[in-house]
Every structure is written in C-alpha cells, then in structure tokens.
C-alpha cells in the first residue's frame, strides 16, 4: 500500500512542482515511486520526460481516486503535484493522501491563502482522518537579516491543523537549475540546497 504525498497550495508560484519532483526522485531511492502530475501545465510530467533516469509518471486531470486505486498496491510512494488553485483534483487528493505538503513563500500574499487550505484540510479530515498537513517555507530569502521568515513562522503556528516544518528551503539558484536540467538538487553539486532537501525528507518521513 503506497504512502501518498500531495503537494498543493491554492497559490501559484510557491514551488510545488520543484518540491514534488525533488521529493519523487529522493523517494524513488527508498522504494517504487509514482509521480502524478495533476496540473494542466504538465510541468512535472514534462520534467520527467526529459530525464535520463525516468520515474514512473502519469498525467491525470480528473477521476484521481479511480485512477490511483489500482496503482495503490503497486507502489511504495505516490507523489501528486496539483495546480496552484482550488480544483476537483486537489479535493480528491485530500481524500486519499497520507500527507499534504503545502509549500509557501514567507510573504503576506502567500500566507493569506493558508486559511483556505486549513479549512479544506479540516473538511477533508472528516472523511480522511489519517491525513496530516504539513507546511514548508519555501523560496525563503537567503538574507539572514530578513525578518519575513520569523513572522511567517509565527503566523503559520496559529493554525492548529497545519504542522510547520523546521526545515526552510531557501531561494537558491540550484533549485531552478535542477528543474531546467530535469534533475533533483540531490543529483547536482550544491551542498546547501541538497542539505535543505535531505532535512525536509527526514522531517516528512
């Protein structure tokens, strides 16, 4: 039976696909992993198509529950990347996931949508009581004097049903470059980016 991770947020541009692809590559070293792209833009699916070491991947725009049920026992991990908006795929993913990972940038405009995400997670919990919702601060400024991160942590801490990870993924060129090259940062030579990714993996597994 697969462990299902959904990477979602109602806000676009927060790095969902980058997190999803990096997560899928690293989980594939631990067990058979399926990458599911649920976004019309197909970014994750195309990223995988250009990889030399391809992951099993599918593109799904509707009936996610029916599509994944027969694959549930075939894989150890399923990573679902959904579009940066509310959608039926997002709602279906909430009903079957073990963990929903919500990447957010630490800016006010990004944090504002967490209230909606929190509300949907609470509703999904009525039918999927095992779901765990995790927030990861992503694309954080690398300038240590920036106070945004601390303020964001305090704000996210107010949501009782969202668990904020200690890991902070900073806005590093390595993440952007790795995506362009259809790689994970763990397959590149940026130790800082890789350390952040490994810390993230330790926290969610």
């Amino acid at each position: 039976m697969a462990k299902i991770f959904t990477i979602a947020n109602r806000k676009g541009g927060v790095g969902k696909t980058t997190i999803a692809t990096n997560l899928a590559v690293n989980l594939s070293k631990k067990g058979k992993t399926l990458l599911v792209d649920g976004d019309e833009q197909k970014s994750a699916y195309k990223w995988n198509e250009y990889r030399q070491d391809k992951l099993p991947s599918i593109f799904v725009l509707d009936n996610l529950i029916d599509t994944l049920e027969p694959l549930n026992n075939e894989y150890d991990f399923i990573v679902i990347d959904v579009a940066g908006r509310d959608s039926q795929i997002f709602r279906e993913a909430l009903l079957i996931s073990d963990k929903i990972i919500v990447p957010t940038q630490p800016s006010l405009i990004d944090l504002e949508v967490l209230e909606y995400v929190s509300e949907k997670v609470a509703q999904a919990h009525e039918n999927n009581s095992d779901i765990q919702s995790i927030v990861i601060i992503n694309k954080a400024p690398t300038n240590y004097r920036n106070s945004e991160i601390g303020q964001a942590q305090a704000y996210i801490g107010q949501f009782q049903n969202l668990t904020l990870l200690n890991t902070i993924i900073h806005d590093r060129k390595a993440f952007r470059d790795s995506f362009v090259e259809s790689l994970s940062v763990s397959e590149m030579s940026d130790p800082k980016a890789n350390d952040e990714l490994q810390q993230f993996l330790c926290e969610i597994l």
């Binding site: 039976m1 462990k3 299902i4 529950i65 029916d66 994944l68 049920e69 549930n72 908006r85 509310d86 959608s87 039926q88 997002f90 709602r91 279906e92 009903l95 079957i96 073990d98 909606y116 509300e119 509703q123 999904a124 039918n127 999927n128 095992d130």
Partner: protein
C-alpha cells in the same frame, strides 16, 4: 492509512459536495442572460452556484417536449424495462446525451456542458 481509504474517498465524493465545492469561498456574481427559445420566448438564466445536491433539473433546468406515436413510446418503455432502468427520464436523457457527445465530439460536448446555468423563475 487504512486499506479502505479509496472506498471512503469514493463514498465521500459521491455523497458530499466536498469534491464539487471548488472555490466555495468565492461569492457568486449575479450575471443573468436571456436565451431565445425555438418558439421565440425568452428564458432568463444565471450561472450555477448551487451544489450538486441542491441543483435540480425540474427546479432549475429547461424541459424538452417530444411527441411520440403510441408504439414508439411503448418501444421505449419496453427497452427501459428490459434494462431494469429505474427511471425512463434518466434513460432517455442519458441516451440522448451520449449520442450528442458522439456527434459533437468529447471536447465540444464538455465545453458546452461545463457552462452550467440555471433558469431564473419569475
């Protein structure tokens, strides 16, 4: 995570509005339009903001009247009975819509049927 999560998810999808209630915090904008019917009467419609549970074909939809010879209706009734369909209306609607999908193609059919609107009763 329990083994029956997919069963639970399917049940939740079928029996609650959770999956259909996308963007349910967005307040509806009331934009009505008038559709001219074949007999030149106007029907006022508005975009659908009702949940699947609240929306009813008889309360919010339009009707299609089609006269049949006695024997034609009997043939339909017998086919419905043979298939064990619970309702003749459901059968007629589904057969017609399946044919429309075939004629129009799936993309065009979906484009039309995704534009959900309801009749405004005066």
């Amino acid at each position: 995570m329990s083994n029956d999560r997919f069963l639970k998810a399917r049940t939740a999808k079928a029996t609650t509005d959770f999956v259909q209630g996308v963007n349910d915090d967005v307040k509806p904008i009331n934009q009505t339009e008038t559709i001219k019917t074949k007999n030149s009467k106007g029907v006022t419609v508005e975009p659908n903001h009702l949940s699947a549970k609240e929306r009813s074909r008889s309360k919010h939809g339009r009707n299609l009247t089609n006269y049949l010879f006695v024997e034609e209706l009997e043939a339909i009734e017998q086919a419905v009975e043979k298939l064990g369909e619970p309702s003749m209306s459901n059968f007629v609607r589904q057969v017609l819509l399946d044919k429309c999908k075939e004629v129009l193609g799936e993309t065009e059919y979906n484009r039309i049927t995704e534009n959900k609107r309801n009749v405004v009763k005066k």
